[in-house]
Assembly symmetry: C3
Homo-oligomer: 271 residues x 3
Amino acid sequence: MSKEKRAVISLITDFGLRDPFVGVMKGVILNVNPSATIVDISHEVANHDLQEAAFILYSSYKYFPQDTIHLVVVDPGVGTARRPILVVGDKYRFIAPDNGVLSYIYREEPLKEVVAITSERYFLPSISSTFHGRDIFAPVAGWLSTGIDPLKFGEPVQDYVRLPLPDLVQPDDSTLKGAIIHIDKFGNLITNIDRATFERMMKSGSGRKFVLRVGGEEVVKLKETYAQGKKGELFLLFNSFGLLEITSYMRSAAGLLKLQRGDEVLIKFFP
Amino acid sequence: MSKEKRAVISLITDFGLRDPFVGVMKGVILNVNPSATIVDISHEVANHDLQEAAFILYSSYKYFPQDTIHLVVVDPGVGTARRPILVVGDKYRFIAPDNGVLSYIYREEPLKEVVAITSERYFLPSISSTFHGRDIFAPVAGWLSTGIDPLKFGEPVQDYVRLPLPDLVQPDDSTLKGAIIHIDKFGNLITNIDRATFERMMKSGSGRKFVLRVGGEEVVKLKETYAQGKKGELFLLFNSFGLLEITSYMRSAAGLLKLQRGDEVLIKFFP
Amino acid sequence: MSKEKRAVISLITDFGLRDPFVGVMKGVILNVNPSATIVDISHEVANHDLQEAAFILYSSYKYFPQDTIHLVVVDPGVGTARRPILVVGDKYRFIAPDNGVLSYIYREEPLKEVVAITSERYFLPSISSTFHGRDIFAPVAGWLSTGIDPLKFGEPVQDYVRLPLPDLVQPDDSTLKGAIIHIDKFGNLITNIDRATFERMMKSGSGRKFVLRVGGEEVVKLKETYAQGKKGELFLLFNSFGLLEITSYMRSAAGLLKLQRGDEVLIKFFP
């Protein structure tokens, strides 16, 4: 990292913005690297919700400048034997507790190194058993952002924790089973059904049709933009992450359907 | 923009802070201009609420450093024919969807140029139909902040969209009809009645009195500070934006009156 | 402050993030000092809640870089005779209304100077009676961060306001009475009982036991980490601020106990 370039550190936590936790982490980072640029991705991850944090990271990390350090602290096991890890990818670095919150990264990115962080010289002098975001993760991110070699933070490991990601199952040629993996502020229900899989099963040009079943409702319309829908009507679109989304123009699809993250989505294709 | 000066980009959206949308926009901006200073004004605009976003911009933009780029993404028409626009004022630049969210700016600022943004070279390579905040607005703001001429982004237009702003009506010499245009976190009800209009109708020194009617209640006391009121008592003051505000010391006037934004406010003046 | 070092200004307010207040303050600061790094600690302090703001500052300020300016604007008396003050400590500076919100600082820090801010040349040209965060506090913080001598802002005073902090009382050798001073996002109930006082009363090695009574419940287990508890079981730990905390693994202790900040906590020690 040249002197001219300011390091970027992104943050994802479940700490919220009312308590001082996030501000404290930023203070610690700036104490180590005063020129770091810190960017909040989200601090409103539901308490201890690794799946939500994993998805938020997955949908955002690629849009940051090369060499960005993505720091994720959702850490129900803080103070136990679970390790802090540092993952070196092709373009980005990731720091998190080794609890699977980086599972999408393991699936998507070519990994150069996964390091179990053990070098206490990069920690705060006194380590609590309840706030490693402050005592370990923030200072390690700060030091890494100054250009220190990732291998100085600990030893490479292979047995890092992978979380089972929501399954996309294809029981037969005319059925696709997925799940709602995120509900956004607008009440859009984001599924794990990607465009490529959907289009393969639609056999584009074959005249196939489909019906999506979710929460006792059937949705059959696929549109391009939110504004193409009528208010209160449910329809589908592929969102900006390339994932199928159940939505409604100017309304909350989640409110209309009373669904939650994790709920099943089924698509039947027919001639 | 000299090399020494860091460009400021402010953000107003209805994206909330739980989803990754805002963080992603910041990543995109920093990827284009690593030295930009990004300042959040609000991301908690009610979904699709152009009036609220317009007011938040109106009440804040003047307090930023000269040359600040104010980026507003409240965009129910994302992906449709509505244009992205770039507005060059005397001291500030504004980027937003052309849906009227800049209407106060058109009323308040001398405009040098309104440009319909069309130059795809300043967009992300792949444009979704649902998240132009990421794909168009953020990179355009980033490039503009590096000093690129606004006219490189597209052609000047005259037919930009103006939103009808809440009316301040004066049916006769003793009546003023306005509206609640914002309710803040403290429950203060901010009206569109400005001090100059109010004082003109009061005919200062004439001994005129007034009564303000709102939601079935009458308010007649005008004070200077919140702390001059008794707890639970409704009164008025001209707030820091120069607008008449219905308030209550240490209480929520909105809670006491059960009013909403858009509700009418009537003032009768009498000798 | 050397030219190379960027000044850090932290912010604590009760302004929330929906209204433009915080963004406006940042605009004003950057207008004075474009190279300042502004860090949010919290803007979700409950309206007018000096005790909460005081605790949030107390638990965070030490983690920031030397010379950080901590700006706290929770200001129910805005526009009245209450003074704006500037406190110079050993390592940090603090700016706030003189309403006691800095009381923990007065207790914890060696004070070099407490200055009543009166020099209007560092204010905005026009001062409202309702938003001194924008008109006085932000520009003063901006100017202070450029290296101006604190004594240029006004005269030293001794009669600054101290807020009564929640008492930790020891009526006899086997009783400790404290209070809940903060409830965090996870529902952890943070008390004002510090580890040193607790251990002194436990007479480590003496075999003494204890029972903590709160809200009609008794809690007797003291653990090291959240994950050592069973879900739904209440237990205690000393948190990362060194304070006794009533908690429950993956559950909200506040929800289980239906307690509020300020509620009493009693510990009985017995042989």
